[in-house]
């Protein structure tokens, strides 16, 4: 090698270790990305169910339904609501909702998911259980508080994926 034409070279060991660190970082990125995408998908699924359960519970506990006197013709109900006024439930509406066939009740709640609505006291004395347990392991439950027959009750709305 002539003195005036020396060339700089990277040392292979340095290059290899740098490349190894780079691969480690890329692997970490890919693992994190995979983890993130699966968590995000789960979160979106959970969010849909959660939002659906909140909407249904709001409808049941805060609205009288559509039409308001839907108990006179339960099968033609457009939207189920159980409230006389906010957080005060009407026993006739609870009974009418219980008597609806499952498919009609689900349609009136505006959901495609399986549902279960349980109305019970905080001590567990059950007033009504409407709907059915779903087979899915994914479910979202929302508990609301209301008054039924002068008793404080919990309205539990569970939606299954």
């Amino acid at each position: 090698m002539s003195k005036g034409k020396q060339k700089a070279q990277t040392i292979p060991l340095d290059f290899m270790s740098g490349f190894f660190i780079f691969l480690l970082l890329v692997a970490y990125f890919l693992i994190q990305w995979d983890l993130f995408s699966s968590r995000f998908a789960e979160r979106a699924q959970r969010g849909d169910l959660g939002l659906g359960a909140i909407t249904i519970s709001e409808m049941l506990v805060h609205t009288p339904g559509e039409p308001e006197n839907w108990t006179q013709a339960p099968l033609s109900v457009k939207s189920v609501g159980l409230a006389q006024r906010q957080n005060l439930l009407d026993w006739n509406k609870v009974a009418a909702f219980s008597s609806l066939p499952y498919a009609n009740a689900r349609e009136a709640l505006g959901t495609d998911h399986d549902f279960l609505v349980v109305i019970e006291t905080p001590d567990g004395v059950r007033f009504a259980s409407i709907g059915q347990d779903g087979n899915s392991t994914h479910a979202a439950e929302v508990t609301r508080v209301a008054v039924l027959n002068d008793t404080i009750v919990q309205v539990k709305v569970r939606l299954y994926d």
């Binding site: 970082l25 979160r43 959660g50 909140i54 519970s57 506990v61 001590d123 609301r144 404080i152």
Partner: protein
């Protein structure tokens, strides 16, 4: 220059601005992905549910006359039994009378527990009136704060 470095036995380092920039971007991306991954574990509707629970409890207690009773034992018992398990609550009721065109604060009552400093707390408020013989006797504001224990 190079000749001098070689002659003196010093080593050269490959250290360019584009390599630094690439490393910076990679680290930034890693941090962003890790942050988003952790964020995805949070329940997006926890706040909404907590606020609903507080509003429901206030509405129910008002309908049952529990708020107006100002009975410490009754209110604490109702808070314990109606709110979901694992939720702590504190309630403050400020009572006013209306006299000579102005509201006068008569008393402030506290019920329930006190929120720990490091918890995320959510609030709800309900205004109600106290009545006797169909006459309004006082005006009250109930403020509830709830948190995950």
């Amino acid at each position: 220059m190079i000749e001098n470095a070689v002659a003196s036995g010093r080593r050269g380092f490959v250290f360019t601005i584009d390599a630094t920039l690439a490393l910076f971007l990679l680290v930034l991306t890693l941090i962003a992905v890790s942050f988003l991954s952790i964020q995805a574990e949070d329940d997006p509707y926890a706040r909404l549910q907590a606020v609903r629970a507080a509003k429901d409890t206030l509405a129910v207690m008002e309908q049952q006359g529990i708020l107006a009773s100002a009975n410490q034992t009754l209110i604490n018992g109702t808070l314990n039994s109606t709110l979901p398990k694992g939720v702590g609550a504190h309630m403050e009721i400020s009572t006013y009378t209306y006299d000579s065109g102005a509201f006068n604060l008569v008393k402030v009552s506290d019920y329930g527990l006190y929120a720990p400093n490091n918890s995320s707390a959510y609030g709800a408020r309900l205004d109600f009136v106290g009545m006797r013989n169909a006459v309004v006797t006082n005006y009250s504001i109930a403020r509830m704060v709830i948190w995950q224990k």
